[in-house]
């Protein structure tokens, strides 16, 4: 599965995207798995309320199942316009 990071999430983790081999059942499980890896992930994911997630390019919730999902993205609230 491809995991993408944008804005300050990308800066804290230090890369824009990576391919992750995971058995995580939900977005929440994936976050827990990534956070356990290294301090920079833990720091980026420390405040879930400050983050948004997209699953296969659609805004989604933390309990979204990851079965068959190809792409998950993490980013701060959007500031378009």
């Amino acid at each position: 599965m491809d995991v993408l990071y944008f804005a300050w999430v990308r800066e804290r983790i230090g890369l824009p995207r990576e391919t992750v081999e995971t058995g995580a059942a939900t977005v929440q499980d994936l976050v827990a798995e990534l956070s356990a890896r290294e301090a920079r992930y833990e720091m980026a994911f420390s405040d879930p309320a400050a983050l948004r997630v997209a699953v296969d390019q659609k805004l989604a919730g933390w309990d979204t199942p990851l079965t068959g999902v190809r792409e998950v993205a993490f980013f701060p609230p959007m500031t378009g316009g």
């Binding site: 997209a54 980013f75 609230p77």
Partner: protein, 145 residues
């Protein structure tokens, strides 16, 4: 709907958009411009999520067409580096009646502020900071629910 790094010509885009409309009595355009409130902004960087951005903008436009009597709509949003007073984005709507055109333009703006995957970073006096999303922008969406 276009997402591009290059500047756009507001007059040319608005004229071409209006010319494409048949039987529409009203065209509304809105343009967002880079603000430099206290004269300290060096430049702004806009990041986006290629793929999702286009899908999100298309979804927001489809919703606007479902809610109002629109003949057409246009969204152009830039990314990359922009300077003070540069145009960031524009929205145009066309309808037989001005009320639909105005309301749909407001709706498009409100949604693309908080639901299209763009992020702004401001560089002032050599220091860079991500622009925080504002609660008031999130609140604005509730008026459309």
């Amino acid at each position: 709907m276009r997402v591009q790094e290059a500047p756009f010509d507001l007059g040319a885009e608005a004229s071409a958009f209006a010319a494409r409309q048949a039987g529409m009595g009203a065209v509304v355009t809105f343009t967002g411009i880079v603000r430099d409130l206290d004269g300290s902004l060096d430049h702004m960087l806009i990041e986006h999520y290629p793929g999702m951005t286009e899908k999100a903008l298309r979804g927001i436009a489809e919703e606007a067409h479902a809610r109002w009597d629109l003949g057409g709509s246009l969204v152009i949003h830039r990314h990359g580096q922009l300077g003070p007073d540069d145009m960031i984005m524009m929205v145009a709507t066309a309808s037989r009646h001005r009320k639909d055109a105005f309301e749909a333009a407001m709706f498009l703006m409100d949604y693309l502020k908080s639901r299209a995957p763009f992020w702004k970073k401001e560089v002032t006096n050599g220091a860079a900071a991500w622009v925080d999303a504002r609660d008031v922008d999130e609140e604005a969406l509730k008026d459309w629910e």
